[in-house]
Structures are given as structure tokens and as C-alpha cells.
Amino acid sequence: MTAFWLLAPIMVVAALGVVLSRKAVHSALCLAVVMISLAMMYAMQDAPFLFAVQIIVYTGAIMMLFLFVLMLVGVDKTDSLVETIKGQRLVAIVLGLLFGGVLVTVVAQAFVGPVVGLGEANADGNVHGLAKLLFNRYVFAFEATSALLITAVLGAMVLAHRERLEPRRTQRDLALERMQRYAEHGEHPGNLPTPGVYARHNAVDVPALLPDGSTSEISTSKTLRDRGVVRDGAFAGDVSVTMRRLEADGPERGRVEPPPSTPARHDGEEDL
């Protein structure tokens, strides 16, 4: 019973966290805590197989897939509070209260005392006892459940399936296409230059420098260029500052012609 009184508050707090936390990922985490605590409750009640399976299947696989989707879909979004079905919230509150009332009544009527009959049920070992029940007495229910699950899996596959209209383009096809474009339009077949090459910073908004010191436009993202937040080559300015300093020091020392600031020149001006 001590384990119950230790785990129960954690579970209640985590369950409230599922409902109340603002971020979907935090809700999912709280749910994982509830599931793990539940598994420990099973272990306390001499059901080690259920304990392991609860964690492997629910916490390890299903919850992980939830988390997976949540992370990829809405990393930072809080849910919109607009009702899509009219009166949904009201119905949900009423039904929730009714369900809660039923649950409280039923649980309150239950007799709480020491658990009996576990030794008898686990006489041949927990796993063997469970297997005996599943594959003898409840074999029909077990098979029916598995048939239902397989149907659901097939349904999901059918729904997610999309007929392919054209043959899949392999890596070879793509490479050939790229070379064809190079042969016909002179489009650069390789990767775009990365930002910051030979420039003073390697941040994404600093364009790479070409050998003549001018900047390469295509080395920065189009989004940044459109927003106008691309910093200038960050070199021309430095050069002029250095030149001024040198000139201030004296005209004789190490005079270098500044590179002509020609506009960016590159094959394949458009984005690939």
C-alpha cells in the first residue's frame, strides 16, 4: 500500500498536467509519467508481465509516436481556442461531469483492503498463468481483438496509400537531369556555395566571397535575401577601414589596391 500512496499523488499531479499544460509536448510528457507510474502499480500487484508490457508498448512505442508527431507538427504552437463544432465545449463539460460522478460513485462503493488471490493466480508463474488464460479460456476474444487490430492497420495503410502516377526517379535519373541542365543552360550542377566562405563571419546571413573579393548572391537563402537582412560581404567595409588606417599611417607603407566591387557573378543565378 505504501507504493500506492507514493505513486498516487504523482499520478494525480501528472494527470492534471496532461489537461492543464499549455504545450502539447509537456502534456505528452505528463501522460508518460502517468503510464510509467501505472506500470509500477502493476508491478506492485504481482503482475510483472503487465508491468513490462505497459512500459514497452504504451510508454515506449505509442507515446513515443505521439511525441514524434507533436514535435514535428506543432513545435511551438499553442492550440487555438475556437470551437469547431457548435456547443462542443458545453457537451464536453456536461458529459465529463457525469462520467466523473459515475466514476467517483463506483470507486467509493468499492471495498479497499488487502489484495487477495494473487498467489493462487500466479501459482505457475505470472507469465505462464497469463498465457494459460489467454490461449485457453479467452482464446476467441484474443483472436477477435487481433483481427480487429489488423483490420485497423490495413485501414490505415489504405488511407495513407497513394497511387504513384509516374515512375520513381532514382538518384541516377536526378544526376543525369542535373548534368543535362548544365549542358543546356550552363546551370551549376553541384551544391550551392555555403554562406560565409572566405567572408569574415560564417553566419547564414553573410554571403560567401568569390575569388575576386565580390560576394556570391546565391550563397545565402532566398528568404533572407527577400527580407533584405543579408549583411554585405563584410569584407569590403573592413578593407576600406584598413586602407584608411594605412593611409593615415603614411602613404608609403604597403599600399594595396582595393578589389573592384564587381557585382556577383556566377553560373546559375536562379535558385536550384
Binding site: 510483472p48 513490462a52 511525441l67 514524434f68 514535435m71
Partner: protein, 418 residues
């Protein structure tokens, strides 16, 4: 399963838990050094050899340095989750070792207390290991998400997908062992292998599938896609530094040892001495089995390092396809075969040696087929290479002379035209 499990004095349990912890941390430090030395040898280098005998203290020095580094919280990190993620990754890695058997029952020195060299055992011990490792995945995924960086997120998502898929193949390969041993408790599986042979022999396909799946499960090369440097910088731990990074590192190395120890326990007879040594009296008694156990585990760790030293990284889609379309169906089919075989053996309809003979004949037949020379089809005459096929330059194939556009062969280098 020994009656002692779960009924021991509190100080024995604490002592054993502490020993497991110490063994794991020391083994990790050793493994880092071992990996660096072995990989260095494979690459014709020397590896760490300055601090301590043979450079053994190098990883300790590295660990201290790592712990003293600056702790960085990225601006967009989700503070709480970012902080607890490494802890979630590390604790299950240690927990899994609660049920790994190091040896038989021994007397603790200076006392009369008899205890098995295993923290505890339960009827579902192997499932318990699978369960805690699946919790360990959370640490990686959450760390990736909470860093607030795209590289980390992608690394975390990759690793979760990878570990879930390969855990399925791993679990299925262990099912055959459960059927053979008639139990899921680690100590009973070791005992079953003492009566029978090591399960790696009769269950060779399971063993091979397990070895592939364990590399995928631990994110090690050639399956280290979640931290592919070329694509994802460092994957899920890109934004981590200092002790938090060290925890991830520790968890990865412990997981590597965990799956190695599990492979030893399930397929290579656990702590029992290998054939040849087991004939010596007392080889399977007292504290000697710890040596055999650690030796076999180290064998698997060496395999990990060997793989890392020799294989390039797989492409992600090929890797997933391999897991779902090859490993899982193969292990399902193999489980059916094992079930039928087991039933027939129990009913005395089939002699186990007969199976081995049939399997041996099959292997020999396969080998013989490999040596039959292929019938050579006459090679199709390759067309004259066109240096400007389709308008872009084409280098000649190896062994062919480059052809100039006009058709005249290019003069060999060194003979410059006047």
C-alpha cells in the same frame, strides 16, 4: 531463479547496486580508451598513449575536462526539459544492469553471506531491459526537441524512429531464446544454456539478427544516423555541452555495454566459462565467472569498434527499409521455424542432432554452390566512349584511353606536342 532474489539483507543490495554502478562507470572509461586505441590501430595511428600506463587515464582526463567546461543554455531551449533530458537518458542505462547476471552464487569475503552475483532477477527480466531502454529513448528525443534547434530536432526524431524500429527486431530475435529456455529470467536463461549448448549455435539466425539490431539500437556506426556529422552536425546533442553532454556520452557507452552483456547472457552462455576452460574444476564457481562474463562482453564491444572502424554510414531510407522489410520478416519466419522445431523435439519426433546435421549439409551445399564457376556470358562490346556525350564532358572509364572530340586519341602525358 534463486530464492535469494528479493529476500536479501539491505546492505547486500546496496553493496551490489554500488558495485554495478562502479563497474559500469569504470567500464565506460575503459571502453572509450579501448575504442580510441583499437580504431587508431586500424587506421595506422597510435591513439592515446601519454597519460597513465598505455594511456589508460586519458578518458579520465577527458571526463574531468568535459565536466569543467562552460554550461550553455541556448536561447530557444525549453529550460526544464533541456535540463532533465540527459538525466532521463542516463538513469535507464544504469537501471538495465539490475538484472544482468555477472556470476553464480558466491560468499561475500569476510562474511558468511551467500549472494548471487546479480542485483536482482524477475520472471520477465529481459522484457524489463527492453522496457527501460525504451524509456532511455525519451532522453534523446526530448533533448533533441528541447534544444530549440533544427539539427537537434531532426536528430532526435531520427533516433526515436530508429530505436523503435530496431527494438522490434531485437525483441523478436529474443523470442526464439525464450522459447528455447522456457523462461524470460536472465539467470534461468544462463542455467538453460548450461544444460543445452550456447544458444548462439542452435539459434544462429536469431543471434545474427540480434547483433545487427543491437548496433541499430545503440546508434553506433554504421547506423549512427541520429548524429551524422555530415548532415546533422551532432544530432540530438548538438546544443549540449559540459556535464549534460557527458551524461549523453555516458548513456551511449553504457547502452553499448548493456546490449553486449545481453547478447552474452542470451546467446553466449552468460557467465559460464567457454568450452575448454569449463573442463577445469572450479572454472564456473566463485568469482572466476565474472572474468568470463566481462571477457565475452568485451568481445562484443570490440565488434562494435571493428564495425565503426570498417563500415561507412548507411543512408537513412535504406537503413529503415532494411529494418522493416528484411530483419523483422526474417525474424518472424524464424520464430515459426523455431516453434515447430521445439515442439517436435519435446515430443521426441525429432532428434536435435539431426537438425544440426541437416543445417550443416545446407551450409556445405551453399558453400559448394558458391565455388561453382559462373557461366560467363560473352561481354557485349562496349561502344566507343564519346567524350562529349549529350554535350557534357565524360571522363573515360578506368583502363580506357580518353578520346578527343575529333576521335583522335589524346597523346599520352609526358609527350608534349611541339
Amino acid at each position: 531463479m534463486s530464492e535469494l532474489f528479493g529476500n536479501e539483507a539491505w546492505w547486500v543490495i546496496i553493496l551490489k547496486a554500488l558495485l554495478v554502478f562502479v563497474v559500469l562507470v569504470v567500464f565506460t572509461l575503459f571502453n572509450i580508451w579501448f575504442e580510441r586505441r583499437v580504431v587508431a590501430r586500424m587506421q595506422h595511428r597510435v591513439g592515446p598513449n601519454v597519460w597513465g600506463p598505455f594511456g589508460l587515464l586519458q578518458s579520465l582526463a577527458d571526463g574531468v575536462k568535459l565536466a569543467l567546461k562552460e554550461e550553455i543554455f541556448p536561447k530557444h531551449a525549453h529550460k526544464v526539459v533541456y535540463f532533465i533530458a540527459p538525466v532521463i537518458a542516463t538513469i535507464p542505462a544504469f537501471l538495465a544492469w539490475a538484472v544482468i547476471p555477472f556470476g553464480p552464487e558466491v560468499t561475500i569475503p569476510f562474511t558468511d553471506t551467500v549472494t548471487p552475483l546479480q542485483l536482482t532477477d524477475m520472471p520477465v527480466a529481459v522484457l524489463y531491459i527492453l522496457a527501460v531502454t525504451s524509456i532511455g529513448v525519451y532522453g534523446i528525443v526530448l533533448g533533441g526537441w528541447a534544444s530549440g534547434s533544427t539539427y537537434s530536432l531532426l536528430g532526435g526524431v531520427r533516433s526515436s524512429a530508429q530505436m523503435i524500429s530496431y527494438e522490434v527486431a531485437m525483441g523478436l530475435s529474443l523470442v526464439a531464446v525464450f522459447i528455447y529456455a522456457g523462461s524470460m529470467s536472465t539467470s534461468e536463461i544462463v542455467a538453460a544454456q548450461a544444460e543445452d549448448t550456447w544458444f548462439a549455435l542452435p539459434l544462429l539466425p536469431s543471434f545474427i539478427i540480434y547483433m545487427i539490431a543491437m548496433v541499430g539500437e545503440t546508434n553506433r556506426a554504421p547506423f549512427d544516423l541520429p548524429e551524422a556529422e555530415g548532415e546533422l552536425v551532432g544530432g540530438f546533442h548538438t546544443e549540449y555541452s559540459s556535464l549534460k553532454f557527458a551524461l549523453f556520452f555516458l548513456a551511449e557507452y553504457i547502452n553499448m555495454v548493456t546490449v553486449s552483456a545481453l547478447a552474452t547472457t542470451m546467446f553466449l552462455g552468460g557467465w559460464r566459462a567457454p568450452w575448454g576452460i569449463s573442463q577445469i574444476d572450479g572454472a564456473n564457481e566463485g568469482y572466476w565467472p565474472v572474468l568470463w562474463f566481462l571477457g565475452k562482453t568485451l568481445l562484443f564491444v570490440f565488434l562494435f569498434i571493428w564495425l565503426r572502424g570498417s563500415l561507412p554510414r548507411l543512408r537513412y531510407d535504406q537503413f529503415m527499409k532494411f529494418g522493416w522489410k528484411v530483419l523483422i520478416p526474417a525474424s518472424l519466419a524464424w520464430i515459426v521455424v523455431v516453434c515447430v522445431m521445439r515442439r517436435l523435439i519435446i515430443d521426441d519426433d525429432l532428434d536435435p542432432t539431426k537438425i544440426l546435421v541437416v543445417a550443416g549439409v545446407l551450409v556445405v551445399a551453399l558453400l559448394v554452390v558458391q565455388f561453382i564457376p559462373e557461366r560467363r556470358t560473352p561481354a557485349v562490346e562496349a561502344p566507343e566512349p564519346d567524350a562529349f556525350a549529350g554535350g557534357f564532358p565524360v571522363p573515360p572509364m578506368p583502363g580506357k584511353q580518353p578520346v578527343a572530340p575529333s576521335g583522335a586519341p589524346v597523346a599520352p602525358s609526358g609527350e608534349k606536342e611541339a
